[in-house]
């Protein structure tokens, strides 16, 4: 398990991290979300010693992180970059070897991963000959080539087309299922919701919400109500008790209400013929908005 405990970090007067703590468990995926500049990248860099926290600890399996631990970790930084003149398979194998693989294993793993990520035909191309999206796949392969026990990915989905994003999701799910502890940051909350069992929400350097996503939803004080009426009007919203927030859609409206309200009670309050009615726990986006408000 990766444990981050009470990390503090200041850059001059800017406090980047304030007592930031959360855990990443083997075999599970944690979505690390927060507004721009909230401290996500700084936190991830702390794991690799690229940033030294002013206070707090980062531990792996109960101990401080050693050089050997780092070799078994996989990292995809926000600042993407590889050797542009180097051939794709050589490049991935090189990073495999830096992570301690022997030559033959590194070559096989590089070729396997690249093929798995759809680059089987491009193994001997130079990186610069690949499209941006394909370069990103190579970047992912370098993070995966040594079968890391911990995967830390900073915005892995940014800039990916839907197909590439699907491949990325599949790979991450598969790694987590194989026992890897996975943490990634993203602004695509629906993706995080789809993929992750756990989330941590950071705002202004502090963790404002964390835990198992399903439990967080259950424990939330709000419920989401989606209603489409036969007439299509949304004036029923005004008749509901304890409305916390309203989103108007072209088909109808979605409303956040107090979790204490029961569905039949709300149904009665609407008082109009209904085409569809959905009463559910809040989405991650709802939790996020509430947490960073």
């Amino acid at each position: 398990m990766l444990e981050l405990r009470d990390l503090d970090k200041s850059y001059g007067r800017v406090q980047a991290l304030r007592s930031c703590s959360f855990d990443v468990h083997p075999g599970r995926m944690l979505g690390f979300v927060g507004p721009n500049g909230a401290g996500k990248t700084t936190t991830m860099r702390c794991v690799f010693g690229l940033v030294k926290p002013d206070a707090g600890t980062v531990r792996w399996q109960g101990k401080g992180i050693s050089s050997d631990d780092l070799l078994a970790f996989g990292y995809m930084p926000e600042q993407r970059g590889l050797y542009s003149k180097m051939r794709v398979a050589d490049q991935v194998a090189y990073f495999g070897r830096l992570h301690g693989l022997d030559k033959a294993t590194a070559r096989t793993a590089a070729s396997d991963w690249l093929t798995r990520l759809g680059l089987g035909e491009r193994l001997s191309d130079r990186l610069e000959a690949l499209s941006h999206g394909n370069q990103q796949r190579v970047q992912l392969a370098t993070a995966l080539v040594h079968d890391p026990v911990l995967l830390v990915l900073d915005e892995p989905f940014s800039g990916l087309d839907p197909l590439a994003a699907q491949t990325m999701s599949d790979v991450l799910r598969e790694r987590a299922a194989a026992g890897t502890a996975v943490v990634f940051s993203s602004h695509q909350l629906d993706l995080v919701e789809d993929l992750c069992e756990d989330v941590a929400v950071i705002d202004d350097g502090a963790i404002v919400l964390q835990g198992e996503l399903a439990a967080l939803k259950r424990a939330s004080a709000v419920r989401r109500l989606e209603v489409v009426t036969a007439g299509g009007e949304t004036d029923w919203v005004d008749r509901l008790p304890d409305v916390l927030d309203v989103e108007h859609r072209h088909t109808g409206a979605e409303v956040l209400v107090d979790a204490a309200r029961q569905p039949d009670e709300l149904l009665a309050a609407i008082g109009e013929p209904i085409v569809s009615f959905r009463f559910s726990p809040p989405s991650l986006a709802d939790l996020f908005r509430e947490a960073v408000r």
């Binding site: 690799f48 690229l50 940033v51 780092l70 970059g81 830096l98 370098t142």
Partner: protein, 401 residues
């Protein structure tokens, strides 16, 4: 993973990717081609002897001109023609017009145009030599000595030479090797320093640095890079020099067998050491900048150090046993220049050589560690060039425990 393995992997990557790059192969090929041209080219142009014309006035000039014509016959590259003039005015007009290069007036005066020129006036030199030879011949004619005997005496060396070192004092080959090595090293430092410089900024420029430094220590990366780039540079440079020596030997310009082994070995050792310490210096400044464009200006202090050390060396070597030379032996930047030359001049003790090797090696290792620390400090500050002090201060970032 051990430091050596990490350094070795980076080293090998540098050699493979750079060594097989088109730029490297083309540059190496062109250098060898150019060298071939330098040695073979002049042989393709036929050796035309220089045509010299001298004028002379007055009967007393005749014997000197006769001797000069004989002298000229012994010179392969000269053809001398003598023109007799009736009057001084006519002769001076011919000199003015460029028909002749020197004018002998009787046996007392040698007239030339007197305008500055890069080359000596060979015509005038031959006439002077001829006049001197005639004067000596006249002097010794009463003693009954044959002219050949007199010439033999003048060029003989009646004293037996002996040196305490056992080296032949008349044979400058050792100094030539040392000074040639010094010049080559100076050239190599300035030529290949920029390789190291831009190489060190490569990872920052293409932003691969963050994944690298999450795996290997910065000094491993830098040591591997300096080693890899340095090895390639040395191979390219070594090939060039070896090929040059081969051509020089084949064309008869240099007798390879005459090159003293100990002196050449010392030059080679210090070539590698000197190259290393300066490459490391370039790595230190390279680690301060994040863009290749900034690297050149950042490297100015190192270039100045290389040039200044080179000049200090010549001061020191005027007195190879003196204090300056002795101090320069133990300064890592000047030692690579000074030690091989002092060795060739037999002006250095073995312990001094050994100690300066150690000093230079230790300095190289310390500097690469320093570069690693600066590199880590400057690492995540992409963009502006970092001040040394700031890089040092933030270089204390370590792995969290």
């Amino acid at each position: 993973m051990s430091a050596w393995r990490a350094i070795g992997l980076v080293w090998w990557r540098e050699i493979v990717t750079r060594g097989t790059s088109k730029a490297f192969l083309i540059a190496s090929g062109l250098t060898l081609l150019l060298l071939t041209g330098v040695f073979i080219g002049p042989r393709l142009i036929p050796d035309e002897p220089e045509e010299l014309k001298v004028g002379h006035v007055g009967a007393a000039s005749e014997p000197i001109v006769a001797t000069a014509l004989v002298f000229a016959q012994f010179e392969d590259d000269v053809m001398l023609e003598a023109l007799a003039f009736d009057t001084l005015e006519a002769a001076e007009m011919a000199l003015e017009a460029g028909d002749i290069e020197a004018l002998l007036v009787d046996d007392r005066e040698l007239v030339t145009l007197g305008q500055g020129s890069f080359s000596n006036n060979r015509s005038a030199s031959i006439l002077q030599e001829a006049a001197a030879a005639n004067a000596i011949e006249e002097l010794v004619s009463d003693t009954g000595m044959a002219p050949e005997e007199v010439v033999g005496l003048l060029t003989s060396r009646p004293l037996e030479p002996r040196t305490l070192s056992g080296f032949d004092a008349d044979d400058p080959i050792r100094e030539i090797v040392a000074y040639a090595g010094l010049m080559l090293m100076y050239a190599a430092i300035l030529m290949y320093g920029t390789w190291t410089l831009s190489g060190v900024t490569e990872e920052k420029a293409n932003r691969v640095v963050e994944i690298l430094i999450s795996t290997v220590k910065p000094w491993h990366l830098l040591a591997g890079k300096v080693g890899g780039i340095g090895s390639l540079a040395l191979v390219q440079f070594g090939l060039t020099v070896a090929y040059g020596l081969f051509l020089a030997g084949a064309t008869g310009a240099v007798e390879i067998a005459d090159i003293p082994v100990d002196s050449a070995g010392m030059v080679l050792l210090w070539f590698v050491l000197g190259f290393t310490i300066y490459a490391v210096m370039f790595a230190v400044v390279g680690s301060l900048v994040s863009r290749t464009e900034d690297a050149q200006s950042a490297s100015t202090p190192v270039t100045i150090a290389a040039v200044a050390s080179f000049m200090v060396t010549f001061v020191a070597l005027n007195d190879p046993d003196g204090l300056t030379a002795q101090i320069a032996t133990f300064v890592p930047f000047t030692a690579p220049y000074v030690v091989p030359v002092r060795f060739s001049l037999d002006a250095i003790a073995w312990w001094e050589v050994a100690a300066s090797v150690v000093v230079t090696l230790v300095a190289s290792v310390l500097l690469i560690r320093l570069a690693g620390r600066i590199y880590r400090g400057a690492l995540l500050s992409y963009g502006a060039r970092l001040k040394l002090r700031d890089a040092w201060a933030s270089g204390t970032e370590r792995r969290p425990t």
